[in-house]
Amino acid sequence: MSDLVGYLLTGLGIGSGFALVASGLVAIHRVTRVVNFAQGAFAVLAAMLTSTLLAAGLPHGLAEVGGVALGAAAGLLTGLIVLGPRRDSPGTTPGTALIVTLGLGVLAYAIEVLIWGDQPRSFPGVPGVAEIASARVPAHYLLIIGVAAPVFLLMALFFARTDLGKALSACASNRYAARVVGIDVRRMGLLAFALGGALGGLAGVLTTPVQQVTFDSDVTLIVNGFAAAVLGGLTRPVVALGGGLLLGVTQTLAAGYGGGAYQVEVALVLMLTVMIVQAARAR
């Protein structure tokens, strides 16, 4: 029993990371129709910068904020390249955009290896082990949950209650109508990219103390994030959140009771099944 509680909490912690990556994907895809393959790179960049800032003596909190800011900046830059630099830029089609963001992901490799090398990096998180319902869980997992939960709440409020959030939703809902009422759809797209970058960055910063980060960790992150997001058709943030948590818990349970192997396969097979079922239902 206490094993189960432990696995669940650990899974929710890991799943929160996936959910953050997934919501970044969803935020960008809803507004721009672009599936951003560079989403995992935002997390890696943020984590790497945070490790450097911490090593340079910056206190926890500030260093993490720096990492998230880098994620947001990288997101904005990605948006500028994908959507075009000027207001009347034609931008790229969603199909081409996937290829461009793929290229940007590889470009991030070059930058990361150049600055931080190709060895895994990590930094300390919350030390110690917490005991909940007689289950012992590394305390950092609780921090991940404790930070991610309010972030999701804030996002929900942002989209539901603020005009800016509604304008973003309006672009997702009907781009033409958004232009008719005078919303700058491209600027909203850039905002979505920056938001997606920040969410990806937060995922990287939060999970690195429990899972080392290497320059090519982005593949695992993007695949898990996509798997979580695809449950909601890449457009529904709440489903993406649920999908991420489900994925994290399933993987932890599979690892815990299945002896460590098949952790990766669980997410991947789940994702393939969901997509194939969705495609079959769409006909």
Binding site: D163, A167, S169, A170, N174, Y176, A177, V180, I183
Partner: protein, 223 residues
């Protein structure tokens, strides 16, 4: 003063000419109709007025605040009616996005305010589209196909609202319509667009008697 002045407007899509040297004027507080068959170039003119397509040549001068009721109503289907209306005032800044005055103007929308726009009937959506355009506090309203796909009774109600906005509040209107009888009835002045060119224009009462109009646009098939 003129609200909108279009001179020599030419728009091409991939080489095909959609509008060819169009001249059109809407004076302040005037209601002008643009009638023409499907594919005559009416929607292109609306898009050019709103800056959504770029003209190949010619000038468009919009002196007054312009808001558009687009063809097909173009709701934000996932958002509530209230949110649709608020976003109509997007350009005007947060302080001017209060929907209260609009509900006084169009009380039919009050019971719908919390429903998703996508779940409304066509007539209700058209009312929301008009309301959303009014939220921009326009001096001229460009209405693209008011009657398209709606039952005559509903069109009558919408037309009455539009007429009241024009006569009581001095709102200038540019009504783009396939239904020529409705357009000529509602507006003081009218233009006839055929294959991208203005072929006729004048006071609505005169055009309504012109055989070229009665034969082509007011025949039995257009009732």
């Amino acid at each position: 003063m003129t609200a909108v002045e279009v001179t020599g407007l030419t728009v091409r899509y991939d080489g095909a000419t959609a509008l060819d040297g169009v001249d059109l004027t809407v004076a302040d507080h005037q209601a002008v109709a643009l009638i023409g068959a499907n594919g005559a170039g009416k929607s292109t003119l609306v898009k050019a007025l709103s800056g959504l397509v770029r003209p190949a040549s010619g000038t468009i001068t919009v002196n007054d605040r312009l808001a558009q009721v687009p063809e097909g109503r173009e709701m934000f289907p996932d958002l509530t009616v209230d949110d649709n209306l608020r976003l109509g005032a997007w350009r005007r800044g947060r302080r001017n996005r209060d929907t209260q005055r609009l509900y006084e103007l169009l009380p039919d929308l009050v019971p719908l305010r919390n429903r998703k726009a996508g779940a409304l009937s066509g007539g209700q959506q058209q009312m929301v589209a008009i309301g959303r355009a009014l939220m921009a506090d326009p001096e001229i309203l460009v209405v693209d196909e008011l009657s398209l796909g709606l039952a005559p009774l509903i069109v009558g109600t919408l037309a009455a609202h539009l007429r009241a906005l024009h006569t009581d509040r001095g709102l200038a209107v540019l009504l783009i319509e396939q239904n020529a009888r409705l357009a000529l009835d509602l507006c003081d002045h009218a233009y006839v667009l055929e294959a991208g060119r203005i072929v006729l224009h004048g006071p609505s009462a005169e055009l309504a008697r012109d055989p070229r109009v009665t034969d082509a646009y007011l025949g039995a098939g257009h009732e």
